[in-house]
């Protein structure tokens, strides 16, 4: 651990962390930089091979189409940073959209429905966090139960797809921020960007963020250091529940419908985005920015496959699998070197 290397000026290195930490952020940045490089390579390939791939709107559409995934993945980042996992996010999206659509159809005002659905997801996350912490149930199993619960509730409420015709909802869904002729982003993107920004700040600059990293690094040490392990752990699952329900709201804006089968397998996409973004699945290392890049990579794969035209949708899965493999091996090599 006493390797003395002259660090090639780590970007924005937090000097207050002191000497030993100096070289570490460098190795920690490698997966994120690799993702960035991959993103640039993929984008260049796309621009080179397909007409009009370079349009600004094509790139912006990746954000428009994946804003909900971005929000969910941000919540997942927190959970994975503590070394946990949240399998319930896809089901929470389904529950959120179903509840929202049902209540709006029943004539409830949007001002009540919106906070209510966000509250449902948050409370579900809080409950799972509490079970994980207080009863020492494994995160995998507890969130699996949460997934069954949320999906089951959604199916119980309504098994059909319900269109949302509420004025507020349609307004939000159609809201566009135009920069130039034909260049726009939707409201979803703005919300997602705000979430990403807040999450990045919280993770980097607050005590809570530090605690999240500490627990992911070693929960026992964190406990011995007197950090509020229990509170933090419950908080990350609550946060993930909130992000999932917010993702659900964005999804209902995006699709203008509520359906109990929305978001199936979305938890895998979110986990894949987080891993490709360079967050260590064992916890303790990674950045929200990485997750953003991970979501972009997933979105770009889909865009390329759409542009290619003769490739079938299952290639997406195979390519995502290959990328997962590459990034996991890369992480493995990096962490091994760090030790």
């Amino acid at each position: 651990m006493t390797v003395v290397t002259t660090p090639p000026t780590p970007q924005r290195n937090r000097s207050l962390l002191g000497g030993r930490r100096v070289y570490r952020p460098n190795t920690k940045h490698i997966p994120v930089l690799a993702t960035l490089a991959l993103l640039i390579v993929m984008y260049s390939i796309g621009v080179y091979n397909y007409d009009s791939f370079g349009d600004t709107q094509v790139f912006l559409n990746i954000f428009v189409d994946n804003a909900f995934l971005l929000v969910v993945a941000v919540g997942m980042t927190f959970v994975i940073l503590t070394g946990g996992i949240d399998l319930s996010v896809g089901a929470v999206i389904a529950l959120t959209t179903t509840v929202a659509a049902t209540l709006l159809t029943a004539g409830w005002p949007a001002g009540v429905v919106l906070p209510l659905v966000l509250l449902i997801g948050t409370v579900l996350g809080l409950g799972m966090g509490a079970v994980i912490h207080f009863f020492k149930v494994e995160p995998f199993i507890a969130t699996l139960a949460g997934m069954f619960l949320a999906r089951g509730l959604a199916l119980l409420i309504n098994r059909n797809s319900i269109p949302i015709t509420n004025d507020f909802w349609t307004q939000m869904a159609q809201k566009r921020f135009r920069f130039d002729d034909g260049v726009f982003i939707s409201l979803n993107v703005v919300i997602a960007a705000v979430v990403v920004l807040i999450a990045a700040l919280v993770l980097a600059w607050t005590r809570f963020g530090r605690n999240v990293y500490a627990i992911g690094g070693n929960a026992d040490s964190a406990l011995l250091m007197g950090l509020p392990v229990g509170r933090t752990r419950i908080a990350v699952y609550t946060l993930s529940g909130f992000c999932a329900s917010l993702g659900g709201v964005l999804y209902s804006f995006y699709t203008s419908s509520g359906y109990s089968l929305h978001g199936q397998g979305l938890e895998l996409d979110a986990i894949a985005a987080v891993v490709i973004g360079g967050v260590l699945l064992t916890g303790g290392s990674g950045y929200v920015l990485g997750t953003v890049l991970g979501v972009l990579v997933l979105g770009l794969i889909q865009t390329i496959i759409t542009f290619q035209g003769d490739l079938n949708s299952w290639w997406t899965r195979i390519v995502v699998g290959i990328l997962l493999f590459a990034f996991i091996v890369l992480q493995r090599l990096v962490t091994r070197k760090a030790k």
């Binding site: 996992i85 399998l87 079970v131 207080f134 009863f135 020492k136 149930v137 494994e138 995998f140 199993i141 507890a142 699996l144 139960a145 949460g146 997934m147 069954f148 619960l149 999906r151 089951g152 509730l153 199916l155 119980l156 098994r159 026992d220 109990s260 895998l268 986990i271 894949a272 891993v275 699945l281 064992t282 079938n312 949708s313 299952w314 290639w315 997406t316 899965r317 195979i318 995502v320 699998g321 290959i322 997962l324 493999f325 996991i328 091996v329 493995r332």
Partner: protein, 345 residues
């Protein structure tokens, strides 16, 4: 009495009995088994027949979990084996000949073994966390299965192939017999030889067992190969039962159900000890739950809710901390050792 209550299979058994008895309230003939067309017929037989794939997958999962690992790719492997078998059978000149069909089955299982080796290689040689290593195949596997079937649902008409999932031997469902043989073999291998002990020692501490002279790496690879092989057989049973290969539906969510079955059976996800009887019991509980929901008349979709409630209750019942807090029996049941012992309880 307290010993009985504290036995780790007590609560799962109670749940199963309650489920079966509650079935009796809603359908009088639930326990009746009749002989029709030379084979046994009845709800209980149906449960046995339909739990076969889950029992097989849970069996492999138990071995993997006993070494402290997890295998998320079983559902995808199921889809791949069914897809390959149906593709090859579709190409046969005579799909009703037994020999070629056996060859096809062999090929499908061989492919699954390769995928098992891949998982084992990632976990044991590259040292990647099992949950992530198998996530790769879970994501990519379904794509591979769709690639094999070209995104179509392949229908096959082959009498010998159909026997695996829907046939009867001496009146007993063949799929049940396959599962029973697999369970018997696994029990014999793990409890009559030193293999079970080695598995538990690798699960307890790979480093310590390696220092004790156990080839931990080889054992780890082996359990993933086993899990993939069992999943492959389960995939064949599934696709044979429906006479088609559906890459999306085959083994959908089965990894979660299998893990659930293993946990319900009292095997801790941390590894180091396992109960095959418990996992089989867990798998039967889950299948019974699905069938009960139908016979009780709850809409099929609420099965998930039902499942969630049962999982929550069972997990809490198995959590030593919860029992201690609720029943005030702190320390009586927890095993000494590492601070994580209570997780394992």
């Amino acid at each position: 009495m307290t010993n009985l209550v504290r036995h780790r299979l007590f609560w799962p058994t109670v749940v199963l009995v309650v489920l079966l008895v509650s079935n009796l309230i809603f359908s009088d003939n639930f326990f009746r088994i009749t002989l029709q067309d030379g084979h046994l017929y009845g709800s209980l037989i149906d449960i046995l027949r339909r739990s076969a794939p889950l029992v097989l997958v849970a069996l492999g999962m138990t071995l993997v979990i006993s070494t402290g690992g997890i295998d998320l790719s079983v559902g995808s492997v199921m889809a791949i084996s069914g897809a390959l078998a149906c593709l090859l059978i579709g190409d046969l000149s005579n799909p009703d000949a037994v020999g070629p069909v056996l060859l096809v089955i062999g090929a499908a299982i061989a492919l699954c073994l390769v995928f098992g080796l891949w998982n084992g290689f990632l976990v044991a040689v590259l040292g990647i966390q099992p949950i992530i290593a198998t996530l790769i195949l879970m994501v990519a596997g379904r794509g591979v299965a769709q690639l094999i079937t070209d995104g179509q649902i392949l229908n096959v008409h082959s009498a010998p192939y159909r026997v695996i999932g829907a046939g009867y031997f001496l009146g007993v469902p063949v799929s049940f017999l396959i599962a029973a043989v697999a369970v018997g073999l696994t029990v014999a291998l793990t409890r009559r030889t030193a293999l079970g002990l080695l598995l538990e020692s690798v699960g307890g501490s790979p480093t310590a067992s390696r220092l004790a002279g156990i080839r931990a790496r080889r054992i780890t690879i082996m359990v993933y190969v086993f899990a993939a092989a069992f999943a492959g057989v389960a995939g064949l049973i599934y696709s044979s039962d429906v006479s088609s290969a559906d890459s999306n539906a085959a083994g959908n969510l089965i990894e979660l159900n299998a893990i659930l079955a293993v946990v319900l059976g009292g095997t801790a996800l941390t590894g180091g000890r396992f109960s095959i009887a418990g996992s089989v019991l867990g798998a039967v509980i889950i299948t019974t739950l699905d069938i009960t929901a139908v016979s009780v008349g709850v809409p099929v979709e609420t099965t998930l809710l039902f499942k969630a409630v049962v999982v929550i209750i069972l997990c809490l019942a198995q959590s030593a901390t919860f029992r201690a807090k609720v029943f005030g029996r702190f320390g009586s049941g927890s095993r000494s050792g590492s601070p994580r012992a209570e997780v394992a309880a």
